[in-house]
Symmetry: D3
Subunit: 168 residues, 6 copies
């Protein structure tokens, strides 16, 4: 992992945690895309695909809704996050062979943000998948949860793929 800016902007010189002051910034169009995995194991993954009819997609749909609602609560949960007016939140939940894959996308126009909102959406979506399937098996793990892409703001576009290539 490359360290591109060697300081913690959330820690004041006095050593105390603080909200970064964004009052000098201009609002800009910002997006972030994050992903999360829930390692449910082969049996639960099959159950999630098998459940048909009306039921089909209800674990996934409940988790998606929880993730979307959580994105709106990011600043309430993460102490130093700024409250932001989101333009859009969207989440895909896909069941794989032995895991559930979550992709969240957040769009907003603001002086900061989108990254923590996308990660919070993905994390709470993953926790909800866990909650919905945990009666069918213990030992489930969540992770990795990570940023995939970010656009807007001073630092412009960042993608995990290009960052990984650069690191090679």
């Amino acid at each position: 992992m490359k360290q591109d800016k060697p300081e913690f902007s959330h820690i004041a010189k006095s050593g105390s945690a603080r909200m970064v002051n964004v009052s000098g910034k201009q609002p800009s169009h910002r997006t972030a895309r994050a992903e999360a995995f829930v390692r449910v194991g082969r049996n639960i993954a099959e159950m999630l695909k098998r459940e048909g009819g009306l039921a089909k997609g209800n674990v996934q749909e409940t988790a998606r809704i929880a993730g979307i609602m959580a994105a709106k609560k990011t600043a309430e949960m993460i102490p130093m996050c700024h409250p932001l007016a989101l333009d859009a939140v969207d989440i895909d939940v896909t069941v794989g062979e032995d895991d559930v894959h979550i992709e969240s996308r957040v769009t907003l126009e603001g002086k900061t943000g989108a990254e923590m909102e996308a990660l919070t959406a993905a994390a709470v979506c993953a926790l909800t998948v866990y909650d919905m399937v945990k009666s069918a098996g213990k030992g489930i793990e969540i992770g990795p949860i990570r940023l995939m892409e970010k656009t807007g703001g001073k630092s412009g576009r960042w993608t995990r793929e290009e960052a990984d290539d650069a690191a090679d």
Copy 2:
């Protein structure tokens, strides 16, 4: 991973999501312990250890507080969780060589619970560590987030260690 109870208690026969009815259950003493990792890389880990004086521990302390407060909000975030009166929430945050390790412990007396509360505490604590250090480097990953131990309730004590041994 062993599947020990092949059904989703959060999905009704009709296929809809539901809160499990716990009205027939007796309240019992319950605990859960979960862990989470934040893969911050070697540079940030060193920065987290280096910051001395008053500052020392402020990223960690902010994250701990966020995690404790999140445990109390579990039922607000996870749609099918029951609201519970927690007896205790405690979180340790330890900086390793290239990661941050989080351990959360939740105690309550109730008809259900502790597991999702401990996982939510660990997850939001991890998201807060991420938020506090993200200005110092991109590419940080969260995970795994997982249950380590659970006691109380009908199913009694479960530990990840014993479950892993049994799976060998």
Copy 3:
């Protein structure tokens, strides 16, 4: 409508609003069932039934989840309601010829409650149906929202049906 207890328990002698003091009461098993209607018109009702495959039930499922989560927030929204630990919340959403019918059921063990929780669940579920379909037509109306049945507590079982019969 029969007036069975001619006073407002939420208004103190001084005329000010207050939370009723329930400290002398014993917790008892309580349930409440409420219903709500959303008058969406024939076209939207048909659209709600027609949408097939994965989509089927997503308006309804989103509304159900919103209602369940709202039940847990009743004491936060209704100023004089007591915070209560719910044992179960369940909601059915059924699409009729020109309306959507919502039935909510709440179970808890407490010194008061269930009635406002069931009504709040039904109301927020109805508002969410409205929000999800409003792009397809204006003029939608919500109502009636009403209690259907209540058990537990000092006053015992009450059903709308029997009350209506008695009123004849």
Copy 4:
């Protein structure tokens, strides 16, 4: 009821619920006016008018405040609603012969909204009236809750009256 836009903007092509992406929209001045009724019966209506002195208006005032506070929580309660910065919320509560009439008015400058905020304010105001008077009589009903007027945004001004005339 006329169906003027035959699709659900809150349902993605994949069939999943989503927040509508408003990032391409310009903020505009928006207002919405909604109403709700609480059918309390003749006795309670008389009690509500009779209570004099300091007390006068306290059921109504408590309900108004609950409605105003709920308008600010709309995006927290209705899963696909955008968080919005409201410019004004005002509510009138009037006691009639056998019912309570609620009118809510919301003003904001945003890319979307006002309609759900006004309806949520009216609904929670009605639920609070219900809660405050329910000790004096069972069988109370809430409804209809409905939009009366909406201005701003792409679709411009809409009033229920004109829509009803057009439908004749």
Copy 5:
């Protein structure tokens, strides 16, 4: 002021903040009474008394409701507070010659609490009085906010009056 227990129970041996573990405690009946003052000055105090008719008491009533609702949110605001099911919250707001006096009373049955709930109710009630009258004059001050009486729990009954006498 007498220091009766020379340690901070909210600080663990490691120096980190923690929720005190109350799992070994038995629930008991607990009450707390707190007061707060808002120094509004003579003019505003007169205005608060003069406003007649329906309006009379609306600043006070709005503040009372805000305080009652805040008591229910204590554990959400104060990081190390336990979530508690309150049995009753009541607040009196009295306008004096040049100040507003607030008295809050909280009753609950729990393993801890009532003290912070009563203080939080009084503080938020005072902040609301401030907000409602601030357009009529700057320089308003809040305070003191303080506990007047506490009963229940291991330490039994405490009153400020007796404590002050003992300190003489």
Copy 6:
């Protein structure tokens, strides 16, 4: 105290509480600075300074974080406050000889605000200090809580110092 604007903008002509309509206003850069005191007594003040190592500053840091998070919740707690997007919140907590001094600073760009946000941050920070040290002594008092400086908006810059000078 000088009364500079003899009316309550939060009370409508009808006497009911209302949110002031800010829709005609232009957003402007606004700041507010407030302070609060916690009278903890000499013993607790010494304990707060003495606690060394990692622990040092944890009561203060927990209180700072609680205050920052509360600033973001102002509109949720104070009924007639507008929801605002804060640009920055910062809080200093200083231990004196027998008290704890809190200074909060809030920056935002909006049509109203900053004053109540700074006061709410200071008040909740003070309540948290109280909660964290109350096990070490009863009789602690909070106050005064007061605005020190305000800039932006129609009324421009106000400082307590200049106002006090003018009052002499």
